[in-house]
């Protein structure tokens, strides 16, 4: 039965999944194009394949992380609310699958796409770091470290969790996607306000850690609240 629901959910999100593929490829193509353009007039060793590959992979993965957040909010918001917007969720409610099975199917699709995207970007980012010795040090751009990647992932989690959570309360996908995209700003505000109330300065070294942790906590909390509401709400 879960296979049938997965098939239906994949078809439901077909256009969004296509957009995801295009956007992911677009990130690396854009970064590659930019790398070639930026190095083409350079007199020294910047024209090497290693340097261009480094710039493409590093830039592509950084753009890719941002794209993953956007796509995650888009997919999570749509997976939950699209069926409510056209009321097909009422048709689904009369069929044998349980709410839990429906939710698992959606979570599996959104989760696997996001994991795949994050995996691709982490691998590309790691590959870029392997190329660092071949990049002239004076031209070497800022390279994100593990903490930065974790922060990227936390932003993605907050976006996806926000979109997922809000979507189960809403009847169209526009609102949840916007709210999902806005969740990292909510995290930022909360971290600043809580830090201020506890007397911790925003420029403190631990700020990034607190922001990363806040993103994970709020994203997961909103996701869990949304899931619970999805399982218990009455339709319409």
């Amino acid at each position: 039965m879960i296979k049938a629901i997965l098939g239906k959910d994949l078809a439901l999100l077909k256009n969004y999944i296509r957009a995801t593929v295009v956007l992911t490829l677009g990130c690396y193509l854009f970064a590659s194009g930019l790398a070639i353009w930026a190095t083409s007039y350079d007199e020294n060793a910047m024209k090497t394949i290693a340097n261009r590959a480094f710039m493409s992979l590093d830039g592509g993965s950084q753009l890719g992380f941002i794209a993953t957040g956007l796509v995650g909010a888009l997919l999570a918001g749509s997976a939950i609310s699209l069926e409510r917007s056209d009321r097909s969720v009422e048709f689904l409610a009369c069929l044998p699958p349980t709410r839990r099975q429906n939710l698992i199917s959606k979570a599996m699709i959104v989760g696997s796409i996001l994991l795949l995207m994050i995996g691709i970007h982490v691998v590309c980012n790691f590959s870029a770091q392997l190329l660092i010795p071949y990049v002239p040090s004076e031209k070497r751009p800022y390279v994100p470290d593990l903490t930065d990647v974790t922060t990227f992932v936390s932003i993605i989690v907050s976006m996806v969790g926000g979109a997922w959570g809000f979507a189960s309360f809403m009847k169209s996908n526009g609102g949840p996607i916007i709210l999902g995209l806005g969740t990292p700003f909510l995290v930022l505000s909360l971290v600043v306000i809580i830090g201020w109330s506890l007397g911790i300065k925003s420029e403190d070294e631990s700020f990034q850690v607190r922001y990363t942790a806040g993103g994970f906590v709020l994203g997961l909390t909103l996701g869990l609240i949304g899931s619970y509401h999805y399982l218990t709400r009455s339709e319409p």
Partner: protein
């Protein structure tokens, strides 16, 4: 006013509802409904718009939470129908929300994987009979075609209980006829149980073994059509000049007074009741009129609104 709501049946109860209540604010959508439907029976639920039919059915389907009371389906108490229950129930709602982006074939393929007892042969027969185009998207189908697709989905898994909630609402008479014909052919002949809700009296009369009338959230009457025709009569009483009705028996549930002519609709009609009406009121003449199901329905509904009319 009108009695015998539970009408116990000797056969095994497929639907057994006790004191089912649902309120929205101060509005009683369903008010202590008791109903039992035996296996193999076709039960017609009649009621005007807003009577609570859809709420009642949605509660049976587990789509709307109940406030109080109990629902037993196939002998098992249930608050929210389980997947196992849904395997045994076919449901045709008034409004169809089948995935509009799916093709007819896509919908059939999808639902066929969800039911253990899906009968592909029956599904194909019905699709052919209804001339449903497999390659067309559901969103492009007419209302009648969508309703037929809904019926195919509800019938093709051979449900033990078929619940039809105003299934032919908004369909033109030809499609409605075709639709009902299919229900009759494909289900009643297989000896399965049907709960059919409608405000089209003739449709209900045509398909139902037993009829219940729901008004203002209450199941006010139930019985076979013949039973109801026998039990419920209208009495036309011509009163003496200058007299008004002085005695209204408890069996009267609807009355209308126009000058000297007093029309009363009574439940549990008997000769004794007729004598009582004649002697206790200054009657010049009394005439007993038979009612058809539509007239019974109208009087029952009017009777629950106001108790009568005076002109």
């Amino acid at each position: 006013m009108i009695h015998d709501m539970s009408n116990s049946s000797d056969s095994e109860s497929i639907v057994d509802v006790q004191d089912l209540t649902k309120t929205y604010g101060s509005n009683h959508a369903c008010d202590r409904i008791n109903m039992r439907i035996g296996r193999g029976m076709t039960f017609g639920l009649l009621g005007p718009n807003g009577a609570g039919k859809s709420t009642f059915i949605r509660m049976l389907m587990g789509l709307t939470p109940i406030d109080s009371g109990t629902i037993k389906l196939f002998g098992h108490e249930t608050r929210l129908s389980s997947p196992e229950m849904r395997q045994r129930i076919g449901y045709v709602p008034e409004l169809h929300y089948i995935y509009r982006w799916m093709t007819v074939d896509g919908v059939i393929k999808f639902v066929s994987q969800l039911y253990d007892r899906w009968d592909s042969e029956l599904a194909n027969d019905l699709l052919d009979r209804f001339e449903l185009p497999g390659k067309k998207k559901v969103g492009t189908l007419s209302k009648g075609m969508t309703a037929k697709l809904g019926l195919v989905i509800a019938l093709a898994h051979n449900p033990e209980l078929l619940i039809l909630d105003e299934p032919a609402s908004g369909l033109d008479p030809l499609i409605r006829e075709d639709f009902l014909e299919s229900v009759l052919q494909n289900h009643t002949c297989r000896g399965r149980t049907i709960l059919f809700s409608s405000h089209h009296v003739d449709d209900v009369e045509r398909v139902s073994d037993e009829v219940g009338i729901l008004a203002h959230g209450k199941l006010v009457i139930r019985g076979t059509v013949d039973e109801l025709r026998h039990r419920i009569r209208r009495v036309r009483i011509v009163l003496r000049d200058g007299h008004l009705p002085s005695h209204v028996p408890t069996q009267v549930f609807y009355q209308k007074l126009a000058r000297r002519e007093w029309l009363v609709t009574v439940d549990s009609f008997s000769e004794e009741l007729l004598d009582e009406l004649r002697t206790e009121n200054q009657a010049v003449s009394c005439e007993v009129l038979d009612l058809n199901l539509e007239e019974i329905f109208k009087d029952v509904v009017r009777g629950t609104v106001g108790q009568g009319e005076v002109s």
